[in-house]
C-alpha cells in the first residue's frame, strides 16, 4: 500500500484495516503521534489528512492512502511553525504527551481560520484532552499566533483575557 506521509511517498506492507496510528508508530517509526485512547476520544493521535485534523486511531491505512498525511514530525520539520514557537514562548507543556495532538489540531484550526474567536478555539480544541491542565496556556498560545496573523479579532480576544 502506498501512502504520502510528510511529503514522502511511503510503501507499507500491512493489512488495510490497521489504524494509521499503529502504522505510523510501529511500522514507520514516526512516534511523535501518540496513543491515548484508541477510540477517537482524546485527540493525542491527531494528524492532518489533506489538511484536516483527523484521529489517526480511527483512520485505517486504507483511508489514509487516499490523501496526504502530515504528522507532528512534518508540521515544520524543525519546530519553526508559529504555533510550535508560541508553545515554547508560553511554556505550554507539562508532561507533554498530548501536545503533538494539540499542535496538530491547533495548526489545522489556524490554517482554516487564522483569527478564531475564543468560542471557535474551544470548539476546535475540545477533542484534545490534557490531563495536566495546560488548556489556559494552549489557548493563550493559539491567540498569540492568531493575533500576529490578524491584528483584529485575535488581538482583541487576547486583550479580553489580559
Amino acid at each position: 500500500m502506498k501512502l504520502m506521509i510528510n511529503g514522502k511517498a511511503t510503501e507499507l506492507d500491512t493489512e488495510p484495516d490497521m489504524p494509521l496510528l499503529w502504522a505510523l508508530r510501529d511500522l514507520l517509526g514516526l512516534r511523535g503521534t501518540k496513543y491515548g485512547c484508541g477510540k477517537g476520544l482524546c485527540g493525542a493521535c491527531t494528524v492532518h489528512l489533506d489538511g484536516q485534523p483527523r484521529r489517526s486511531c480511527q483512520l485505517t491505512v486504507a483511508d489514509a492512502a487516499s490523501g496526504e498525511v502530515t504528522t507532528i514530525e512534518g508540521l515544520s520539520g524543525n519546530g519553526s511553525h508559529p504555533l510550535q514557537q508560541a508553545w515554547r514562548e508560553f511554556n505550554v507543556p507539562q508532561c507533554g504527551y498530548c501536545q503533538s495532538g494539540q499542535l496538530m489540531s491547533a495548526s489545522a484550526l489556524l490554517a482554516s481560520n487564522p483569527a478564531p474567536s475564543d468560542a471557535e478555539i474551544n470548539s476546535a480544541m475540545a477533542g484534545n484532552l490534557c490531563r495536566c491542565g495546560t488548556y489556559p496556556r494552549i489557548r493563550a498560545a493559539i491567540r498569540s499566533v492568531a493575533a500576529d496573523a490578524d491584528s483584529g479579532a485575535g488581538a482583541r480576544a487576547a486583550e479580553d483575557d489580559a
Binding site: E15, G29, G38
Partner: protein, 748 residues
C-alpha cells in the same frame, strides 16, 4: 551524606550498567539538542555522583527523579548548575538509571525539591570546589585566589580556565568534605528562583520526546494482556485458537499471578504477543477467557459506600485523636450540626497509559519504563526473574503523566516475565481500557461530622469519623483501617482551635487494589472537612472566610501529640517543618484579598472557598459558579499557595493550575463505580476528564513569596478544589452537595 561518595567513572559505569548498545531510536533521537538527553549516558569526567564535565566544557547533570510534568528534570539540575556556576546553555541533563546511591528516586509525595534542594546545592558546590582547586593547582596559587564564575574559573589577578580545561584534573581530586563547602548567598543566585524553560520543551513541541511507549528495540514484540476483571480473579479456562490465527500474532502466554496480597505484582491475565500493536489488540479481542470468581467478584461500590456510611453514622470507631470532652460539649451546645459525606473510587488516567519494555538475557535484564519508582521497579523485576538487583538496569523515560499510578512497577514486571518467556524484547502496552479497569484505584470514603455551636456561633466541639479502605490493604489484606499516615492527610490534623475534639476511624476492608493518586487521602478528607466547615459557618451566620480564620484561631505552631495523635508530617520532623497556623491563615487572607469575595451576585451564582495544609504547603482555593436550570458551570478558579522557596516560578503556577484542573475534573465527573467486582468505566467517554470548553474562563494562581524551606507543589492544589466548588454551589443555590461527583446532581 551517603550519596556524596567518590566513585571512579569506570566503576560508576560498571555499577550503573552502560548498556544502551543496540537501542534503536532512529528518527526520534533528539538531534543537536544539548539539553535533553533522556536515554543518553554521561560521558564526561565525573566530579561527583550528579555532575560530570566533558573536555569540550559541556556539563552533564544527572536528573534522578522522574519527569511526569512537574518540571523536576529541569528544576533540580537548575539548582546544581547555579551552585557550580555552570552556564545553563552548556548543561545537558542526563536521566538517571535506577541506582540506590542517589537516595530515594520515588517521585511521589510532592517532595523532590523539598528533599533534594539542599543536596543538589551541595552537589553543585562540591563540583565548583573541585574546579577551583584544579585551577589553583594549574596556576600553582592558593585556591582562595580562584573563583568559579559562569563556566570558568578566574584568578584574582586575571587569567581564566574553562570548566572543560579543568575537568580531567578536577576529576582526580578527592571529593571535598561537606562541612568545607561554601554555598552561594541567595542574592547571587542566577537560576534558582528563575523561570528556566524545561529542558524537554523543544522536543515536546516537535514530537521528538521519548516516553515509555516510544521505546523501540531491534526485534521487539508487543504484548496486550487480558486481565482478570476482579481482585484475586484467576483464569478458569481460555481459548487462544482464534487469537493465534490473527496475522502478526506470534504467541499467547498465560500470566499466572503470585499468591498473596496484590502488592506490586501483575494481576492474572492472558497475554497476546504480536509484531505490532494492532495485531496484539486484534488477537486479544479474539481471545476467550473464563475467570474464576473470588472473594471480591461480587463487590458493589454503591452498597459498600452505604455500609461505610452506616458505620460512621452508627457509632464510635477507634479514637485517633482526642482532647476535652466532645460528648459533654455536644450535650450543652446551643445547636448541633451534623453531616455525612461520600467520595467515590477514582482512576488516574494519565494520558500515556502504563507501558514498559524489557530485554532479558541469561543473566541480565534491562527495563525501559515510564516509572515514578525506578528502584522499586529494579527490585520487583530482580525478584521475579530471580536475578541480583545489580543485574537489572532500569532506564527511565519521560512519563506522559503519572499521578501515582506509575509508582507501581507491575507493568514492568509483566514485560520482564513476557520477555523472559519469549526470548525477545517485549513491550507491554496497557490500553486505555486496561488502564481504567485495572487501575490501583483511589480509595472511596465515608465521613461523618458533628459540630457544636454556642450562642455566639463559636465551635465548642468537633467530632469526625471516617471509613476509607487503606492503601495498606493492597500490600497486606489484614490491614482494614487507615493508619496515622493516611489520617495525617487533613483528617486528624485539622488545625482548629476547638476545646473539645475527637477523631475516629472505622474499618473498611479493601475490595479493589487501592493506590495513591495525586494528593492521596487529602482528596476525600479535604472534601469532608472543607464542606463541613462551610456548613458550620452558615449555621453560625458567619462569612465562611472569616469563620475559617476564627476556627484556626491564634498564630501558633501545632503539636498534635498533646491530643494523642501521631502526626506523620509527611515523614519530616515537625521541628524542621512546623505546621504554622499563621501561614494557613495567610493564604486565606491573600486569596480573599485577590478576588471580589463577598460581592453581590445575580441569583444562581455564588463564591465558595476551601483550605488545606497538605504536603507541608498551605493552599486556599476559591471558586465562582453558576447554577441555572440544573446546569452547573464553574466560572472561575483562584488559588493561593505557600510552598516556601520556589526554584522555578513558572512551573509552580503551572502545577497550581494543573492541580486545580485535576480537582475540577474529579469534582465534575470523577467516579469509578464497581459492580460485580468490575470497574464500570473503560475510556474517556464514561470516565470524562475536563475538556477545554469545560474549564473556567478564569483560572488564576498566586504564589506567596517566601524564603522558608521548599515544600510540596504538585499535589496540594488538588484537594481544596472540589469543596471550594461545592461550597460555591451552596452559596449559589442553598443546596448542599455531600456526595461527589457533582455530575450526579447537576448537568455539568
Amino acid at each position: 551524606m551517603s550519596t556524596l561518595t567518590r566513585v571512579s567513572r569506570r566503576r560508576f559505569l560498571q555499577l550503573t550498567g552502560l548498556t544502551a548498545s543496540g537501542l534503536v531510536l532512529g528518527t526520534v533521537m533528539p538531534r543537536n539538542l544539548a539539553l535533553a538527553g533522556i536515554l543518553d549516558e554521561a560521558g564526561g569526567e565525573q566530579l561527583n555522583l550528579f555532575v560530570s564535565v566533558a573536555v569540550d566544557g559541556s556539563v552533564e547533570i544527572i536528573a534522578h527523579r522522574s519527569e511526569m510534568g512537574t518540571g523536576i528534570r529541569t528544576s533540580l539540575p537548575q539548582v546544581v548548575a547555579d551552585e557550580m556556576e555552570a552556564d545553563w546553555h552548556r548543561v545537558k541533563v542526563i536521566q538517571a538509571h535506577a541506582d540506590a546511591r542517589y537516595g530515594s528516586q520515588n517521585t511521589d509525595g510532592s517532595r523532590s525539591v523539598r528533599d533534594f534542594y539542599h543536596i543538589m546545592r551541595q552537589m553543585g558546590a562540591a563540583a565548583r570546589a573541585l574546579l577551583e582547586q584544579a585551577a589553583a593547582i594549574s596556576w600553582q596559587v592558593p585556591v582562595a585566589e580562584c573563583t568559579a564564575r559562569n563556566h570558568a574559573v578566574y584568578h584574582r589577578e586575571g587569567g581564566s580556565l574553562g570548566f572543560g580545561e579543568l575537568a580531567a584534573r578536577a576529576a582526580q581530586l578527592p571529593v571535598p568534605e561537606l562541612d568545607t563547602l561554601r554555598l552561594k548567598e541567595s542574592a547571587d543566585f542566577r537560576y534558582i528562583g528563575r523561570s528556566v524553560p524545561i529542558v524537554d520543551l523543544l522536543d515536546m513541541t516537535t514530537g521528538n520526546t521519548i516516553y515509555g511507549i516510544d521505546v523501540h528495540l531491534p526485534g521487539m514484540l508487543y504484548a496486550s494482556i487480558e486481565r482478570t476483571p476482579w481482585l484475586q480473579g484467576r483464569i478458569a479456562s481460555y481459548d487462544s485458537s482464534a487469537a493465534l490465527k490473527v496475522k502478526g500474532v506470534l504467541d499467547v502466554v498465560e500470566l499466572v499471578a503470585v499468591e498473596g496480597a496484590p502488592g506490586f505484582n501483575p494481576i492474572e491475565g492472558v497475554a497476546v504477543i504480536a509484531t505490532n500493536n494492532h495485531s496484539a489488540l486484534k488477537g486479544r479481542a479474539a481471545l476467550k477467557v473464563n475467570w474464576r470468581s473470588s472473594d471480591h467478584s461480587s463487590h458493589d461500590s454503591g452498597a459498600y459506600l452505604d455500609e461505610l456510611a452506616a458505620r460512621v453514622e452508627g457509632g464510635p470507631g477507634e479514637v485517633r485523636r482526642q482532647r476535652g470532652d466532645v460528648d459533654a460539649a455536644l450535650e450543652r451546645a446551643a445547636s448541633v450540626v451534623e453531616a455525612t459525606y461520600r467520595t467515590p473510587y477514582l482512576a488516574h488516567a494519565s494520558m500515556e497509559p502504563p507501558v514498559a519494555t524489557a530485554r532479558v538475557t541469561d543473566d541480565r535484564c534491562e527495563i525501559w519504563a515510564c516509572t515514578q519508582t525506578p528502584q522499586a521497579t529494579q527490585r520487583a523485576v530482580a525478584e521475579t526473574l530471580e536475578l541480583d538487583v545489580a543485574a537489572v538496569t532500569v532506564h527511565v523515560t519521560l512519563l506522559g503523566g503519572g499521578f501515582g499510578r506509575k509508582s507501581k512497577p507491575d507493568f514492568s514486571v509483566e514485560a520482564a516475565r513476557l520477555a523472559s518467556h519469549v526470548g525477545k524484547p517485549v513491550q507491554v502496552v496497557w490500553s486505555r481500557e486496561d488502564d481504567i479497569r485495572h487501575d490501583y484505584f483511589h480509595a472511596c470514603s465515608a465521613q461523618h461530622f458533628k459540630g457544636a455551636l454556642d450562642d455566639l456561633g463559636n465551635v465548642t466541639a468537633w467530632l469526625a469519623r471516617e471509613a476509607s479502605p487503606p492503601i495498606g490493604s493492597t500490600f497486606n489484606t489484614s490491614v482494614r483501617s487507615n493508619g496515622s499516615g493516611g489520617l495525617s492527610q487533613g483528617f486528624a490534623n485539622v488545625p482548629f482551635a476547638v476545646p473539645n475534639l475527637r477523631v475516629e476511624s472505622h474499618e473498611a476492608p479493601g475490595h479493589v487494589r487501592i493506590g495513591w493518586l495525586r494528593s492521596v487521602y487529602n482528596i476525600p478528607y479535604a472534601f469532608g472537612v472543607g464542606s463541613f466547615v462551610d456548613e458550620l459557618a452558615h449555621a453560625a451566620g458567619v462569612d465562611p472566610a472569616e469563620f475559617w480564620l476564627q476556627l484556626i484561631g491564634e498564630d501558633r505552631l501545632l503539636d498534635f501529640s498533646a491530643d494523642g495523635f501521631e502526626y506523620s508530617n509527611y515523614g519530616r520532623d515537625i521541628a524542621e517543618y512546623p505546621f504554622a497556623t499563621a501561614r494557613t491563615k495567610n493564604v486565606i487572607r491573600e486569596l480573599v484579598g485577590s478576588i471580589p469575595w463577598g460581592e453581590q451576585l445575580p441569583p444562581g451564582q455564588g463564591w465558595g472557598l476551601s483550605v488545606v495544609n497538605s504536603f507541608l504547603s498551605d493552599v486556599a482555593v476559591a471558586s465562582k459558579v453558576e447554577v441555572r436550570d440544573g446546569r452547573l458551570r464553574v466560572l472561575e478558579l483562584h488559588g493561593v499557595i505557600d510552598a516556601g522557596r520556589v526554584v522555578n516560578p513558572d512551573r509552580v503556577p503551572a502545577q497550581k493550575e494543573g492541580g486545580m484542573h485535576f480537582g475540577l475534573s474529579r469534582a465534575r465527573n470523577g467516579e469509578i463505580p464497581c459492580a460485580g467486582g468490575e470497574a464500570a468505566q473503560s475510556n474517556f467517554h464514561d470516565y470524562p476528564i475536563a475538556r477545554m470548553d469545560q474549564i473556567p474562563a478564569v483560572i488564576r494562581s498566586h504564589i506567596v513569596a517566601s524564603d522558608a524551606a521548599p515544600t510540596g507543589v504538585g499535589e496540594p492544589p488538588t484537594p481544596p478544589t472540589a469543596p471550594a466548588i461545592a461550597n460555591a454551589v451552596f452559596a449559589a443555590t442553598g443546596r448542599r452537595i455531600r456526595e461527589l461527583p457533582l455530575g450526579k446532581h447537576f448537568s455539568v
